[in-house]
Structure formats: structure tokens, C-alpha cells
Symmetry: D2
């Protein structure tokens, strides 16, 4: 039988994403609601190794539900990849009386948590926090919806210039090896073409599509490109290639970069973070461990964390067709 949970540690790890603060707030307040203590661990696993902890009560998380970034800070920890590092981390949390962990981050962070659990048998629960939406077992990761809105708002601005000057813009967005941001923000922003890692249509198809777009009377075009796309050229080489082959096009490049990771979370991300935090804490209380909380359909669910790590988050093929039709 599982031991009673008395004191939960919470940390954020990996790249930050909007909604992490809302998730921290939810974990802290759910602990308070159930009369469990809560300890914030700074800078992810590195702070665990350095013993950088802080007691947290419901008032510690006032006015953060709408803040981007993470008040607990985040870091990538090389030390935690060594047995010595993890041993030190475990000693620190033992000393601090922490008996279970909620880890907010991506699959790298979950892998760390799983290893830590296997070595020291401390209950862990994962909350998926990354803008890339590349995690199996949840339809939405924290920060993804916010990033989509950041991207479409920026492309809306770029389109003002594109259509004033009859230009073609290549806009590179984040997503690591996943095309979720590119595909959804591309549809949302009305892109004429979308290049994603999951679907290499080749350079010929891009040229064809741009020719067709011009012929159909469109005066300006936006092509959204995922950073991990497989077309074999980076976005600047692509510009040169298109200008060489389609001299009627005046191409500009915009690499959106880190702004996509920040900003006040959308309502969706705030509500999702609140729900996931409640589920994570209550699942630990119920004696569960080694799960990732997530949302599938409209329901908050648990996925074994090793499945979340190994599984692959697929793009929705229906959206490829929608994107194609929308660029008519």
C-alpha cells in the first residue's frame, strides 16, 4: 500500500512555456486545499541538487495565473544526468521532508523524473509544459494554445506589409520535430503553404503552389515553415531558391524565435493548467505515481509516464486537407 503524501515538491524544467505559473499555482493551492505541504524547487533538477527550495502557501502564488515564464525558474541540468547528481538531489529532498514530486516540463524532464523514481522510489507526477505540443497522451500541452495565438497575431501584422507590397513572406515558427504550431497557426493565419517535418512535399510542390497562388489572383502570400521541417534547406536558402526559380516573387524572411515561448497565457492554457495541477496532486494523494496528467477529448486523464515519453504525438491528417482547401 502506498504511503500517505504529506509534502509535495514542485518544479519546472526544460524550456519555459506560458501556463507553467498557472500550473504551479494550481499545485500549491490544491495542496493547501487538501492540507498537504508544498515546496517550490527552483531551477528544475539543478535546484534539487543545490537544495534551492522554498516553502509555498496559497498566498505565495497570488497574481501569477496570468504571467508568462515560471516563477520557479527553469534550467537544464547536466549534473542530474549523473548518479551522483541524482543522489545529491535525493538527499536534499529527503532532508527537506519532500515525499513526492510534481514535474512540469517536456519529455526530457519526464525522463529525468522516471529515472529518479526508479532509483529512489519517490512518487512522481508529470504535467506537460511545452509550447511544441509534441507529447503523447495529451491533446494539448501547456503553452501551446498561447504560442499559436502569438504566432497568428504576429503573422497578422506581417500580412499587413505583405499585402501592402504584394510580397511573399517565409515565416519560421518553433516546434522542434513537430509541425503542430506550423500547421495550426498556418491555417489560423491563412498561410498559402505550410511546411512541416511530418510531411515533406518537396521543393517542386512548393514552387507549383506558389505559381498557382499567383495565378489565382492572390497578391501576397505567407508560407509558414516549422523549424524542424525536412525540405532540406533552411529558411534563408529557401528564400534564395524561390527567388531564383520564381523571379516574380519578392521574398522576405521572418524567424519568430523566442517570443513564442513568452507572454500571458490564454484562458485555455490557464484553465488547463488549473485542471492539470488539481489532477496531479489528487492523483498523488490517491497513491498513484509515474503518470503524466493530460487532456484527451474534454477529459483530464492519466497516461503512464513511460508511454508519454516513448509515444509519438501525431499531427491530425484532417488538418493537412483543411490547410490545402483553405489556400484555394
Amino acid at each position: 500500500m502506498s504511503k500517505t503524501i504529506k509534502r509535495i515538491g514542485v518544479l519546472t524544467s526544460g524550456g519555459d512555456s506560458p501556463g507553467m505559473n498557472a500550473a504551479i499555482r494550481s499545485v500549491v493551492r490544491t495542496c493547501a486545499y487538501h492540507n498537504i505541504e508544498c515546496v517550490g524547487i527552483y531551477r528544475g533538477y539543478q535546484g534539487m541538487i543545490e537544495g534551492d527550495f522554498k516553502e509555498m502557501g496559497p498566498r505565495s502564488v497570488n497574481n501569477i495565473v496570468n504571467k508568462g515564464g515560471t516563477i520557479l525558474k527553469s534550467a537544464r541540468s547536466k549534473d542530474f544526468m549523473t548518479p551522483e547528481g541524482r543522489q545529491k538531489a535525493f538527499s536534499n529532498i529527503q532532508k527537506a521532508g519532500i515525499d513526492s514530486l510534481v514535474v512540469i516540463g517536456g519529455d526530457g524532464s519526464f525522463t529525468g523524473a522516471e529515472v529518479f523514481n526508479s532509483e529512489f522510489n519517490i512518487p512522481i507526477m508529470g504535467i506537460p509544459g511545452t509550447i511544441d505540443n509534441d507529447i503523447y497522451g495529451t491533446s494539448f500541452t501547456l503553452g501551446y494554445d498561447t504560442a499559436l495565438n502569438t504566432v497568428v497575431e504576429v503573422i497578422d501584422k506581417i500580412r499587413d506589409t505583405a499585402s501592402s507590397h504584394n510580397r511573399l513572406f517565409f515565416v519560421e515558427v518553433m516546434g522542434r520535430d513537430a509541425g503542430h504550431i506550423a500547421l495550426n497557426a498556418g491555417i489560423g493565419a491563412g498561410a498559402e503553404e505550410i511546411l512541416i517535418p511530418e510531411e515533406d512535399l518537396g521543393l517542386e510542390r512548393l514552387l507549383d503552389s506558389l505559381k498557382k497562388s499567383k495565378a489565382s489572383g492572390k497578391s501576397s502570400s505567407i508560407v509558414v515553415i516549422a523549424e524542424g521541417d525536412k525540405i532540406g534547406k533552411n529558411v534563408f536558402e529557401l528564400k534564395d531558391y524561390v527567388e531564383a526559380n520564381l523571379p516574380e516573387y519578392d521574398v522576405r524572411v521572418s524567424v519568430l524565435g523566442h517570443m513564442q515561448r513568452g507572454g500571458a497565457p490564454t484562458c485555455f492554457d490557464r484553465v488547463l493548467a488549473s485542471r492539470l495541477g488539481v489532477k496531479a496532486v489528487e492523483s498523488l494523494i490517491e497513491g498513484k505515481s509515474n503518470f503524466m496528467v493530460g487532456i484527451l477529448g474534454d477529459k483530464i486523464t492519466l497516461t503512464p509516464i513511460d508511454q508519454a515519453i516513448k509515444g509519438h504525438s501525431e499531427i491530425d491528417r484532417e488538418l493537412l486537407k483543411v490547410a490545402d482547401i483553405m489556400s484555394t
Copy 2:
């Protein structure tokens, strides 16, 4: 066997909502993609009665994916409630060669479509467009996600003042008889209490909650109130009641009003609109009629339109608990 669809009419009806333009664009472009003609009908059913039509091709809907409101305009039509009105509408669309209809609107608009179909046997398909999210058969209506973000952004601003002055704010939001906006935006905005039509907790509970909030060390509070709540007092009477009973509170009221219906749609609403438009047109092509397209889980679905009209969109009770825990 169903006749072949050649010429689709599209209209928006009832209160406008962000995403309606993206849905119009999707209907128009899906028609073009499948070599079907498309006719825009202005001002909903009233424009049908007055023969206010416009031929639409893929270039007619350039640069509207990100615009609030509806380029086809909307109206409520009393004439369409009479058999004479509907007969006139039918004559007009017959003359215009329109052989099927996509109706973007709420349940009132769907009722009109259903009656029209029953009388004249013209295939119809509904797309749920309303910020209230009060339609059975879809987890999200067009405009709802945008409205939630509008509301939380405004409450974020109000909270700046609330916490600078240690005040209590009552914020009234839209939603007709449904508490979806209030409940979700309330959680998203970190409201201390949320009053919705589906759950009348009574005035005592409100006072208790505010007392507890003060005692817990919170220096400011936001109470979100759905316009259709059942607490028996309007928001201004509620202010007076709370000030009379809890003199330690300095209460302000803000009625958000119509701004909630406007604004550029979020990425979510734009993608949803694009998907629903494709499904609506392709379903007509497949010979289907009398359905509402919607999203359930992550899938685009069809719900018989009479079920969509009669069914009741329930709030998620899990969210009530989450709201309660978050206000700890």
C-alpha cells in the same frame, strides 16, 4: 437519392461572433475547391426574403480570416417567422439557383433552418456560431474561445486596480442562460467566486466566501457573474447587498457587455471555423442534410440539427471543483 449539389447559399444569423468570417471563408473556398458555386446571403434570413445576395469566389474572402464580426452581416428576422416570409425567401433562392444552405448561428437560427427545410425540402447544414457555447453537440461554438480571452484580458486589467486599492470587483459577463463563459473565464482570471445560472449557491455562500477570502489574507477579490445567474439580484443590487453585509469591502461593478462579441478571433476559433466549414460543405456534397457540424473531443462531428436545438449544453462539473480549489 439525393440530388447533386451545385450552388450553396451561406448566411450568418443571430448575434455575431468572432470566427464567423473565418467560417464564411471556409465555406466559400471549400465550394471553390469542389467546383461548386457559392452565394453569400446578406443579413441572415431577412436578406433571403429581400433577395440580398452576392456571388462569392475564393478571392471574395481574402483577408477576413482574422476579422471579427461578419462580412455578410447578421440580423434577426421577424418576417421569416411567418409562412409568407419563408415562401418569399424560398422564391428568391430558387430564382438565384441556390440549392442548399449553410447557416452559421445559434439555436434560434437552426430552428429557422429546420422549419425551412421541412417546408421546402432544401438541404441545410448548421455551423454553431455564438460566444455563449450553449449548443448541444459541440464542445466549442465559434467565438467562445475568443470571448474567453477577451474576458480574461479585461479582468487582468481590472485586477491591476483591484489589487492596487484592495478592492472587490463584481464583473458581469455574457452567456445568456449558460455559465460557460463565467466559469471558464472566472477560473482563467483567478476569480475568488463565480456565479452561474447552473448552480445557485445562494447569497449566504457568497458572503461566507468573501469573508473567508479576506481572512485568508487576500487583499483584493474578483467575483465573476454570468448575466443569467439565478441569485435573485442584479449585479448592482448585489453590490449594495454585499456592502451592507460586509462593510469592510469597497465594491465596484463592471458590466463587460458587447465588447465580448467582437475582436479578431483566436487561432483556435479560426482553425475550428475552417474545419467546420469544410465539413459542412462536404457533408452537403455527400447528400447529407439537417445536421449541425461540431467538434467533440478532437473530432469534427455531425449532430442531427433537431438534437442540437433541443439538447442542453451542460457545464463540466469538474470545473466547479477546480474553481473552488483555485480560490483557496
Copy 3:
């Protein structure tokens, strides 16, 4: 000769406005830059009476340049209107070693500062912080530019609905007895008519203007109304009056309220706050007292604080003409 300044107290008083935090940050960092100590006084004059102080260094004001509200909180203090209250306040700041004050607020706050200076001979400097822009001696008060943008963004959303439904909206904005917000935001939002306290055109002119607007082919209209306007009817009575006299109009009312006071300050307000804070502290160091810092033209200036209090901030009559032409 003036004594050397060693320790400055800073407070915010009256209604909060965006940019107050940026001004606090500027005062604190300018003190640090000149090796002067700085003390934050909470809740305005009331905190002075209660001795609610906090030592502030450059790191105390990290990450607040973009936050609405005021981290020092604000309040209206009845006690400070009594000689006993002010005596107590003076004792507290003497005990705390505070030898001069920067007061961020409106004319009421400046009046308090002036009285305090006259009684206890402590050097004071005022920074104009209010969204109303109703202070003599500065072309812009802190928060005014932000409030204008908040208002036009909201009216942009309302216009989506107005033009989708061919409706008339009355939008009431803040400004106390001044029409600055209404006049500028009205022009910015493309209002058909603007009602301000400084110019009572009468009800007949409003009706005429609305008739002309309809006749000119406008399908929707926005009328912006300052809260202090002198037309003799509140905004709801105005709606009834117009509907009674112009039945072709379907009128809606939106009272924007407190959201206008909050939100992240615009770049203009952040830069202005930074400049005013530097000038306030450096003026105290130079031995000056009893001035309000402000901006006239492009220059940061000093205005004797009694002039700032007694003087009247006029609207720019050129803008009335521009508003009139723009509604053609």
C-alpha cells in the same frame, strides 16, 4: 540654502494608472544612481500615517516597468486631511529618516503634498499619474496614453458587432470633468459623435448628427460619451431619448469602467515615467521643491505645484474640428 537630500520617500496616491510602477522604478533607480537612499511608502498618505514603509534598492523594482497598477498600492486617506493625521505622518517619516518626498498622483494628491510641505517644510516633488490627463502643466499624464489605447481597442471590438448588425452604440469612457479621453479615443476609434464636458452641443445637434450619419450611408455608428459630459442625461437616458426620437436606430450602451485604469503601460507611458522619475529625483537633489515634473512639447519641465493644482488643462480645440471632419 537647501539641505542635502539623503533619503527620499516615494508614494502613489489617488486612482492608480498604468505607468505608476515605471515611475516608482525610475525614482528608485535614480536614487541608487546618485547614491541616495529610497524608501517606498505603501498606500499613499495613509501608509505614511501608519508607518508602512519599505527600503527600496534597484533590484526591488525588477520586472515592474511593464506592470499596471502600483506595487506601492494606493488609497485615499481621510486621516491625512486632519492636522493630527499629518503630524503623525511627519513623525513617522522623521523617524524613518526620510528627508524629501516624491508623490505620484493627481491634483488631490498634489494638494496633500503642498499642505504637508507648508506645515513641515519637507521638500516635495509631484509626478502626474492619472489616466484623465486633466492636470495643468503637462501635455500627458502617466497612464493617459495607455487608457486611450485600451479604449480604442475595446471600441474596435464593439464596432465589429455594430457594423455586423447596423447598430448604434453609446460608449461611456472615463475622464472625470475632462473630455481628453473621449475626444482623442473618439477620433482614434472613428466615432461619429463625441460628447465631452467642455462642449455641450445639446441634444438637437446629436439627433441631427445621427440623422446625417444615416443619410450619408453609414450602416453603423459609435457615439463616445465622457462620464462628465453636460448634456443633461446619463448614457442610459440618452439611449432612450434617441430611440424615442430616431426609431430607425437600435441603440446599445457600453460603460467601459475600471478596465480603463489597468493594463500594461504603453511604450510612451513607460518612457515618460522613466523621464519624469529621473527629473523628480534630480530636481530634489538640486535643492528644488514644490514642483510638478511634466512634459511640454518634447521637453521635461517643472511647473510650480500650486499652478499645477489651480490651473486648468484645456482640450485642444483643433481636435474638435478634426473630429467633426472625420465623421464626414
Copy 4:
């Protein structure tokens, strides 16, 4: 004596900027107000050469006051640099009955207008439209205030990530040879260091400043860099240089690019555009020519267009000091 103006042509030229549409609207409606005809010329001087004109009345410019870009489109025209091109342009406008021109653009566009006036004696009036604020004779160009807000909003987001990860970000902003955007947005966004073309402090000073920043306890830093800065390295080389010399820093680069040119204009830009349009048209009516309208202090002014072209827009040195103090 000057001829009576009967028919004004209006065009936008050069890079687009937010507020151009509001200026077009103002020109069109001021013409209508004074019973003068107005013709829109598409794609700047190129459209003049190609005779791409459109009659404009007050309803042609409905609902554009809040739109970025330019409905008249913009282009750079090589043909207009030849006498033959300009002769053709003149023939076209003569045929169209256009007797005077309002040119909205930057100094390149004004140079074209001045040459055209000297050759064909057609009255011209310039309105400064560029985000760079690099035009002599006006404190603000159209679009500059909007661009500043776009930049600070993006840097606010980047700072979320910077402070969550204790990182240093180099953010490159627009401005051609002028540091206005970098300097003002840098102060507004709380940048630790700002590199502008007008002030080359050298690489040593940058390193010193970053060392000091670290020593002072700042956990993250933003350096804003104008695209035309003179430090001798591009932003990516600068990153390498700093990482080589200050290994304690983990540097990221963000080049904001074209998004800075788009978006809905701020209230300030909308009001300024409205005022400048009125002044431009009324000055032509009064028989004036060869001026640029602008704003100096709070007043709308006229500057001889050759001075506007040759003059140099200086940065405000006071702001350099403010920036320095703010980074304490």
C-alpha cells in the same frame, strides 16, 4: 496666384507603416468636407505611371482607421526615377483631372514629390509615414508609436523566457540609420544596454556593462540593438563575441523584422494621422505647396519639404542618460 484646388490625388509610397490608412481616410474625408474630389492612386508612383486610379468618397474609407498597411498599396518605382516615367505619370494625372497631390511616405517619397513638383508645377504636400521616425520637421512619424509598442510587447514576452532561464537576449529592431526605435523601446522594455547608430560606445563598454549587470544581481538581461548600429559586428557575431568573452552568459538572438511594420495603429497614430490629413488638404486649399505636415510639440506644423528631406532627425540625448540610469 495659386489656382483653386478641385481634385486631389493621394498615394502611399515606400515602406508601409501603421497609420497610413488613417491618413488616407483623413485626406479623403477632409476633401469631402470641403467639397473637393479625391482620387486614390495605387502602388505609389508606379501606379501613377500605370494610371491605376480610383475615385474615393467618404464611404470608401469606412472601417480602415484601425487597419495596418495601406489600402492603396505601396511600391518602390524605378520608372519614376526616369524623366520618361515621370512624364507618363504627369500625363495620367492630367487626364484624370488631378490637380494636386498628397504623398504619404518617407524621405525617398518626398524627394520624388519634390522633383515632380519642380518639373510639372503641381502642388504637393507630404505626410511623414514611416516607423523609423527619421524625418526632420516632425517629432513623430506615422507608425512610429505603434512600432514602439509592438517592440516592447515582444520584448516583454522574451523577458519571460530570459528571466525564467537567467539568459541574455540580443534583440535587433528596425530603424534604418536612426536609433529612435531602439532607444525608446529599449527604455520602455527595460533593456540593460541599447546600441544605436548615433552613439558607438564600443565593444568594451558593452562587456563592462554586462559584467556590471551580472554583478548587480540581475539574473537576466536584454540588449536592444538598432539594425543600423555602428559597433562593427552584426547581431550574431556580437553573440559569439560576448559568449567568447563572458562565458557566464548564455546568449540568444532575436531579430524582430517585418512584424514591426504592421498591426493596428495605436490611438496616438490614428489621431496624428487624422490631424495631418486635415492639415495637408487644408494647406493645399490655402494655396500652399511643397511642405511636409508634421507635429512639433503639440502643434501641427508645416516644414518646407526640402528641409524635411535634407534635415537630420536627432535623437534626444536626454534619453541616453535616462537609459543609462534605468539600467542601474
